[in-house]
Amino acid sequence: MAIGLTHYLVIGAILFSLGLYSVLTRRNAISILMGVELILNSSNINYVAFSHFSSGNVEGQVYAIFVIMLAAAEAAVGLAIVLAIFQIFHTIDVEAAETLKE
């Protein structure tokens, strides 16, 4: 069977789900952020794959590049926040950081 669009999309889907799984189960903020990165990567695979198979131009690739850039920005901010949290709470377990409540 030739490697086609579906293969890439399935890889993307699996990455997406794994990312979601991390986000759902992890208590560690950094781990959750890693899950988010997985999600972003999964959609990037989609974009590049579609760019290749569907649109026939590089628009999808451009999109992927922007996603990567923004992922970097988000990671920077995210990790800054995580560090701030760590300074205050001395842990980055999201369950512990729960001053906010009803």
Binding site: L15, S54, L83
Partner: protein, 166 residues
């Protein structure tokens, strides 16, 4: 199975496998390091898709930037030996269940959907075309992205600045 196909599956397995380690590992250091595998694998996939520039960017930014950041964060916030505490996970079984259904739905839909078909599939180098696009059609997003990065920069500085006033 030709080489290319075999290579593809190899890359795919690396990608998915290390992603699985990221998701399932009980040690955050393992997670963080396997993330590198994923990123690299994804870069490989980009190469398969003829997106050389994107692959390069992926390696540069993800592996060279983001991953390093993450590792720094991990180091800063954990004693490495502290395995159990650092990467607790909760609700695995329901999560697995939900994710299972979800993945099933996704894959089913992917298989049944008639995606758009490109007129021709190109395998030309893309760097130049992407560069053109950035300066022409995608100038505004490009500028905007720089703004995002600027804001993120400032934000990261502000947020992580140690300032104990209490």
């Amino acid at each position: 199975m030709d080489i290319a196909t075999a290579l593809f599956y190899l890359v795919a397995i690396i990608t998915v496998g290390s992603a699985a380690v990221v998701a399932f590992s009980r040690n955050i250091i393992y997670s963080a390091f396997s993330l590198m595998g994923t990123f690299a694998g994804v870069a490989g996939i980009y190469v398969f898709l003829g997106a050389d520039f994107v692959a390069a960017v992926q390696l540069l930014i993800y592996v060279g930037g983001i991953l390093v950041l993450i590792l720094f964060a991990v180091m800063l916030t954990h004693r490495i030996t502290d395995v159990e505490i650092t990467n607790r996970a909760a609700g695995r079984i329901p999560a697995l269940l939900a994710i299972g259904i979800f993945i099933f739905l996704l894959v089913q839909t992917i298989r049944e959907t008639s995606w758009a078909k490109a007129k021709e599939i190109l395998y030309a180098p893309t760097t130049a075309r992407i560069g053109d696009l950035f300066l022409e059609n995608y100038l505004l997003p490009f500028e905007l992205a720089s703004l995002v990065l600027l804001a993120a920069l400032i934000g990261a500085v502000v947020l992580s600045r140690k300032e104990l006033r209490e």
